[in-house]
Amino acid sequence: MKIQILGTGCPKCIKLTENAEQAAREKGVEFEIEKVSDINKIMELGVMFTPGLAIDGQVKSVGKVLSVEEIKKML
């Protein structure tokens, strides 16, 4: 499973990355996390409210720091 964090590197994106890692680990799925910080790549996914979260190329949430519980439900 590929988890992408979309954001230019503000504190919120870092928080979201941490939460996503924890959620995936608690869920016990195999995963890799990719931080997408190139703004043009973020645009290609249609995201303009950062931080965004995409799972397997599908955007699941934008403009919000999701909690660990919320991410678990999406995985």
Binding site: G7, C10, V47
Partner: protein, 430 residues
């Protein structure tokens, strides 16, 4: 942050600590001065001005639906509306520069195009509620107001110029659908307006400065300012319990404590602090809405306050307290470069402002220090207008989005317009 940047920071701090001529009287004075300046901010600006502004910024990011704003900036939006919304939506959308750039790129590539996008890019960082509140409080309401109005007017002009110059732009629009935040707004529009207005009322009247001329309506408002603040606080308390489902019992205890402390011993800052403590506590234990609000307020505070205090220390060290000549940089230098209201001073201020990176709000103490060291009012406004929208690092990102030619035209327009505005403002106020 990448490790090599962290290393550079560590190296820089080490080099300063190693080489600073601490025995020199001038350096000692400047260090002392930077702490005087920090204390001045802590005493005068934090409790009554910054903290309410943080709560407002937090409320905006939680309760105001960003998607509702983007509706007016989509590819099919009415042109007049899209320029207007782009120019003023910075108050709602952008509180830190890291949210401005993705929104700008999105409006440009997926939405209303280069005009509204550059209008937003320009006005966004300058007209957010924190920036206006602090500039008005520290630098005087004239500059605060001129900054807000100037930014909105300029956003229009810049957007229109950009879309005129590049009217034959053949960049193909991305056929990507914008992904909107999914959640429904928790408050109705009029409720959002009343809720924000009650807090803005508290912010404005609690900070109402004593007018220089002791007559007329200004002094009258000044004399009753705490009653007005209290009036807005009552509206706020009511809506906080009623709409946000705050636990009324705790809120009432808090309100009572604030009122009693306001009567005796009558220190506004004490009442305010107690009120804030109760607000945070009741928010933490009430509903999900209040909890997210407190959390987002906290994350703004954590992001901005340390940088601001750092900026105040640096400004104090380099430039000294206003009116003194105790900073490391002699006042004559500042006066020579940006004193008065010459064309050269205004150009210089605009260019420096455009290149330098100001973390959110740090432009305020720096401009304050510069004015105190002899900078003219015109160049000060020029710096404030060119400053927050541009910096060397974000110029690089803007270039990757717009391409070299458009980016260069954008930078030039900003610098030229800021210079003109500085000249005009300097001429009006002198």
């Amino acid at each position: 942050m990448k490790d090599r940047y962290k290393f550079l920071i560590v190296l820089g701090i080490f080099a300063i600590a190693y080489f600073i001529p601490i025995e020199s009287i001038k350096v000692q004075k400047a260090i002392l001065e930077s702490f005087y300046m920090l204390q001045d901010y802590a005493q005068k600006h934090v409790l009554l001005c910054l903290i309410p502004a943080f709560f407002i910024a937090g409320a905006i990011s939680v309760f105001v639906s960003q998607a509702s704003v983007m509706k007016y900036l989509g590819p099919l939006a009415n042109r007049f509306l899209s320029y207007s919304v782009a120019s003023i939506s910075g108050t709602i959308l952008a509180v830190c520069s890291c949210t401005v750039l993705p929104l700008f790129a999105g409006i440009y590539r997926m939405g209303a195009g280069i005009g509204p996008a550059t209008a937003f890019l320009y006005s966004g960082p300058a007209i957010n509620v924190l920036a206006i509140a602090l500039s008005a409080k520290v630098l005087g309401w004239q500059i605060g107001l001129a900054r807000a109005i100037g930014s909105i007017a300029f956003a229009y002009i810049i957007g229109l110029l950009m879309s005129f110059i590049f009217r034959n732009d053949d960049m193909e629009k991305k056929k990507v659908q914008m992904v909107m935040p999914f959640d429904e707004p928790v408050l109705k529009l009029w409720q959002q307006v009343v809720y924000m207005a009650s807090m803005i009322g508290i912010l404005v009247f609690a900070n109402w400065a004593k007018p220089q001329i002791e007559e007329g309506v200004w002094i009258f408002i000044y004399n009753i300012k705490w009653y007005l603040t209290g009036f807005f606080a009552l509206i706020f308390t009511y809506t906080y319990i009623k709409w946000l489902k705050a636990r009324w019992f705790i809120v009432l205890i808090g309100a009572l404590a604030v009122i009693i402390l306001a009567i005796y011993p009558g220190y506004p800052q004490l009442s305010f602090s107690v009120g804030i403590v109760f607000l945070i506590y009741s928010g933490k234990i009430s509903s999900d809405m209040t909890k997210t609000w407190i959390e987002s307020t906290w994350s703004f505070t954590l992001m901005i306050l340390p940088l601001l205090f750092g900026g105040v220390l640096v400004a104090g060290f380099l430039l000294g307290m206003p009116g003194m000549n105790n900073g490391i940089i002699p006042n004559e230098w500042v006066a020579r470069l940006v004193g008065g209201n010459s064309l050269w001073a205004n150009i210089f201020a605009s260019v420096i402002g455009a290149l330098m990176y100001f973390a959110t709000l740090t432009e305020v103490p720096i401009v304050q220090g510069l004015i105190g060291s002899g900078m003219g009012k015109g160049p000060a406004l020029a710096l404030l207008l060119a400053g927050p929208a541009l910096s060397l690092p974000n110029m690089i990102v803007i270039r990757t989005i717009l391409g070299t030619k458009k980016a260069f035209v954008f930078f030039s327009i900003v610098i030229i317009l800021s210079t003109i505005a500085g000249m005009v403002f300097g001429w009006i106020t002198s």
